[in-house]
Symmetry: C2
Subunit: 186 residues, 2 copies
DNA sequence: GAGTGTAGAGAATCATCGTTCTCATTGCAA
DNA sequence: TTGCAATGAGAACGATGATTCTCTACACTC
């Protein structure tokens, strides 16, 4: 296996473990076992645990963006593209191992001590909001709408995780429809 | 100082430290120093760190409920009571040391391993939503509205923490107005 | 086939954490 | 004053974590 493949497997394994149980709760020895590599190899691929955490967050950012983009690409109008976000959330919330937004979790757990984590999480959320703003602009709605739709998505993620139900996605979608229509003066 | 006062001071100190930096990042020795008690006294008041974490979350729940309730009591109509939530958030977000919702942070950091933390966080959020539902009912609006207003509040808290701006409160308030009016058929 | 470098397995190291223990001190009761 | 219980200060303990080191085995070069 090439060295990138190994790094990828480490990151994928770390992502799963960190997301399930938290960053601090999962040690390097457990990651080594789960990824099926030696400790030495772990430290050959990444200089320290921090670097793995960052790589995990960056991978998660790419995957989130791709998944949302794929959902949006399935529909034809800007309005439906905005609503596609909540349909994606509805599916995600049904995942057996859904445990909230990994970035919010990272922010809560590590953000107090690690400015780099804060930066990555902030950029992730900014990028999502920018994408929504592109679409609201295409709709002819103000950027305020994009910010509000983002609030609904954030709230739905934490609420679904904590309540352990998927219903927040549908509630957010319904609210989004009202806000969109109102912003368009319907 | 009486033993309850000491326990209170320990909990208040722990709350501040845990909220600022995270639960795992703050050890018992640091808490001992900051609270100005002996390690022995710490363990006389609480059997283990878990118990302090739980006491912190329970105190935070009482304070949140009281603060929101106080804001609601300042206004006269159910509609204004709902909107008072976002005014409270707007003030809170301006706090120099605001770092998001302590319950969401606890859920992200400890929820993966500690079912008791999950339970406390879930009950906190349920209680908030129940309170909103009482008011939407008084307004003659369906429970769906309460859930949607809660999503906005949750989203605003995480967004304000991550973006390090207070503007999410105003955005959520404006969205809430639209949703309330729509629910009432205005 | 001998020699060299690379990597795996896991022991060793060093720090830190939660928790308990020791012991000297203090406040108080008889 | 003497004896006793309670407490503070902090050392000790056992576990665990991140990181590094050792040593062995194997693959590849000449």
């Amino acid at each position: 296996m090439t060295t990138e493949k190994i790094a990828d497997r480490i990151v994928a394994t770390a992502d799963r473990l960190y997301y399930e149980r938290g960053f601090t709760a999962v040690g390097m020895a457990e990651l080594r076992d789960a990824a099926g590599v030696s400790l030495r190899r772990l430290y050959m691929e990444f200089p320290a645990k921090d670097a793995i955490v960052r790589a995990v967050l960056e991978k998660r950012h790419r995957e989130w963006s791709e998944s949302v983009e794929a959902r949006m690409a399935e529909v034809d109008t800007p309005r439906d593209r905005l609503l596609a976000v909540y349909d994606y959330l509805a599916d995600w919330f049904c995942d057996h191992d859904f445990r909230g937004c990994g970035f919010i979790n990272a922010f809560g757990e590590l953000g107090g001590e690690d400015p780099e984590v804060r930066r990555i999480v902030r950029e992730h959320k900014e990028s999502f909001q920018r994408r929504l703003a592109e679409i609201t602009t295409a709709l002819g709605a103000p950027p305020l709408l994009a910010a509000q739709l983002a609030l609904l998505a954030e709230g739905a993620q934490t609420t679904a995780a904590i309540a352990e139900t998927a219903e927040a996605a549908g509630q957010a979608r319904a609210a989004a429809e009202v806000l969109i229509d109102h912003a368009l003066g319907v």
